[in-house]
């Protein structure tokens, strides 16, 4: 069903394709503009917002700095409350654990609550290999899954789709996986939401196993928290007999009271609401209410690598609100797919290299996907200094290529980018050279990437059709980004 990001081209290449897609740019500008205004209004009414940010950052920082203590505590509390705790070093281990639980119950399908961690590990694809269908139940995830598409935003993964496209996807694809969309489906959001309700309800009512993530995990009590809007989360967390939650180790907070600044910060930063419609908490197994078999998979998958980076560690404070995406002028114009990861935007530009390590051309290009304007830091509810981490990672990328006898094409391109971005007056000069760099990257892609992947052109592998089928990967543009920006007032005209 939904694709994966494996084999995505590096950011500059992918961004060019995205910029050429005017429908995408229009959808994004509309959506991010709307949400920025909503966020600003509800943040503006909190006089103590800055103190609240400091408090939120402090809670997460305290949890991270003493992570071992809190993880061990979390495991104890969960176990005492009847949950089974698993540990997964990487994606493959985590996927195997979830698949094993599903297999133990003899199911061929699971329902899923939108979760960044399970997207990160490619759980749906891994379960499919075991013959298990994973149904996404969040409306936007459903749109992505039915459209055989890739998520492009943390909060609203289908932000790149407008209502007419959603209607078309529902009409075309719902019938092949369950209850079809009504033939008279219109493109009214309320009508589309009602179609999703009908389509998914039969799946909720029969599901035996559900998979979720968690926004927070309280060490002191073993309480897991899921923050959502639609009620699909409640359905998954309540109706099935078995619940498996995949939780990144950085989700831990020390105490129940520590949820306070975070539950106040997250909805205002995320959907621009005082509070999201539904927040569910559960602590192990509650006899007679909800799933009677509860599993928690504590996931590393690169988090400890990020933890070891003294400058980058702060990225693990992220509560996935997506405010930094909505605030970012680069994201607004390129969209999320160009980042080649389930974590797009400014946070993705630092989290991916921190978790995966530098050295891969796609990952190495991400710290350059920014103009260092600082808007991301200003809106971040847990005060992650994203520009500081970007600059730090750029130097790591460059250092990684210092030993090369022949400078790699992308190292040259990166150095040029670093040079250009460090002083906007130099950009005009670099514009002339960019066509060359683009061609160099394309050539490199044809030959030398690990695993035989190519960095440009037709991309092999599962889900690649979602990318290349819909868009031509471009030749270097005739018009430079800055020239285009001047001509169109930054894509607005």
């Amino acid at each position: 069903m939904s694709g994966t990001f494996v084999g995505m081209p590096a950011f500059p290449t992918a961004a060019r394709a995205a910029l050429a897609d005017t429908q995408l740019r229009h959808n994004l500008a509309h959506a991010t503009g709307t949400i920025r205004a909503k966020r600003a209004a509800v943040v503006g009414e909190v006089e103590e917002w800055e103190e609240l940010r400091l408090a939120g950052a402090a809670v997460k920082e305290a949890a991270l700095r003493d992570l071992e203590t809190h993880l061990v505590r979390l495991e104890e509390s969960l176990t005492a409350r009847g949950a089974t705790v698993h540990w997964a070093r990487d994606a493959a281990e985590a996927n195997e654990i979830v698949a094993r639980v599903a297999r133990d119950h003899g199911v061929d399908e699971v329902v899923k609550v939108k979760s960044m961690a399970t997207q990160e590990i490619g759980l749906n694809e891994a379960l499919a290999e075991h013959g298990i269908a994973a149904w996404e139940t969040d409306l936007a995830e459903l749109i992505v899954q039915l459209g055989d598409d890739l998520p492009s935003h943390i909060l609203v993964p289908a932000i790149h789709r407008n209502r007419a496209e959603v209607r078309e996807i529902f009409l075309r694809a719902m019938g092949s996986v369950g209850r079809p969309a009504p033939a008279d489906l219109t493109d009214e959001p309320a009508v589309l939401a009602a179609a999703a309700r009908e389509h998914l309800r039969e799946k909720f009512l029969r599901a035996k196993v559900a998979v979720s993530g968690a926004n927070f995990a309280v060490a002191e009590t073993g309480t897991l928290v899921v923050v959502e809007s639609e009620g699909n989360g409640r359905m998954c967390l309540t109706l099935p007999e078995v619940l498996v939650s995949v939780v990144g180790i950085e989700k831990v907070v020390p105490t129940f009271a520590d949820l306070d600044p975070l539950l106040r910060l997250l909805p205002r930063s995320s959907t621009g609401e005082r509070m999201n419609p539904y927040t569910s908490t559960w602590t192990g197994v509650t006899p007679g209410d909800g799933p009677q078999e509860v599993h928690v998979v504590l996931l590393d998958n690169g988090r400890t690598r990020a933890l070891a980076d003294d400058v980058g560690r702060q990225a693990l404070r992220c509560i996935r609100c997506s405010a930094c995406l909505n605030a970012c002028p680069v994201y607004e114009r390129t969209g999320g797919h160009a980042y080649g990861s389930v974590y797009p935007g400014p946070i993705g530009a630092i989290l991916n290299p921190l978790m995966k390590g530098t050295g891969d051309p796609q990952t190495d290009s991400l710290p350059y996907a920014s103009s260092l304007c600082g808007a991301c830091f200003e809106v971040c509810p847990v005060r992650i200094d994203i520009p500081e981490v970007l600059v730090h990672l750029r130097s790591k990328v460059v250092d990684g290529h210092r030993g090369d006898t022949v400078p790699k094409a992308e190292a040259v391109a990166m150095k040029a980018a670093a040079y250009a971005f460090s002083d906007s007056r130099r950009l005009g000069w670099v514009e002339k050279a960019s066509g060359l760099a683009g061609r160099a990257l394309t050539r490199l892609g044809r030959t030398t990437l690990p695993g035989g992947r190519s960095a440009a052109g037709r991309i092999p592998g599962p889900g690649a059709a979602a990318w290349t089928g819909a868009r031509d990967l471009p030749a270097p543009p005739r018009e430079s980004f800055r020239a285009w920006w001047r001509r169109t007032d930054g894509g607005r005209s």
């Binding site: 509309h30 103590e48 909720f204 009512l205 409640r234 419609p277 007679g288 209410d289 909800g290 933890l307």
Partner: protein, 207 residues
């Protein structure tokens, strides 16, 4: 063979060697007190396009009956209530009075649910259910399409930290702020996806 657990914890330890384990704390700020807490709560709940009304304790049963009549098709509709509800809802099915309670499929055929709540949060317009007596299992306030929820004035607290202080973390909880909603299509907020599409809150003033 080292287990995944031991290896992850060892990685954490080595990642943090030499790092100060106790960074300075920053207490979360408190908001200024509002003069009319319960009125503020009602306003904030209403903002989510929930129906809100206030009544005196003596009028509770009549108010709930009128709320059900308003949302249900005339003269029909099944209503479920949890065991231990502190007031009477004539004609309602009591979930879990005898045995394990209704199945999800049975609940799917129920039109409305009436419950009480544990806490109301004024600043955010949130109702918290801790699924104790008078609130029922999580499923009964989820599957039916209409939820009439009774909150008593003395259950209303100013803000999120006050709510956390009142709640028992070991109980399952549902924090409800308005009816189910989505903004997933062009960030246009639409009420009603999977949870109850109608939320009717009755705030009971002390009698």
């Amino acid at each position: 063979m080292t287990t995944a657990r031991d290896e992850i914890l060892a990685r954490v330890r080595s990642a943090l060697s030499g790092v100060d384990r106790t960074p300075p704390l920053a207490p979360a700020p408190r908001i200024a007190a509002v003069p009319d807490l319960v009125g503020h709560f009602a306003d904030r709940v209403e903002h989510y396009r929930a129906v809100v009304e206030r009544c005196a304790a003596a009028d509770l049963e009549a108010t709930v009956a009128a709320a059900l009549a308003r949302h249900l098709p005339a003269g029909s509709g099944t209503v479920v209530v949890p065991d231990g509800l502190s007031f009477d809802v004539p004609g309602a099915v009591v979930d879990g009075a005898a045995g394990p309670g209704l199945t999800a499929l049975e609940l799917d055929r129920v039109d409305a649910v009436v419950t009480e709540a544990a806490v109301g949060v004024a600043e955010t317009g949130t109702i918290v259910l801790d699924h104790g007596a008078g609130q029922g299992r999580r499923a009964i306030t989820l599957v039916p399409d209409r939820h009439v929820c009774v909150v008593r004035a003395e259950q209303v607290v100013p803000d999120v930290p006050d709510a956390l202080a009142r709640l028992d973390p070991t109980r399952p909880m549902t924090w409800i702020s308005g009816p189910s909603a989505t903004s997933d299509i062009e960030l246009d907020r639409v009420e009603g996806v999977h949870g109850p599409r109608t939320l009717h809150v009755v705030v009971v003033d002390p009698g």
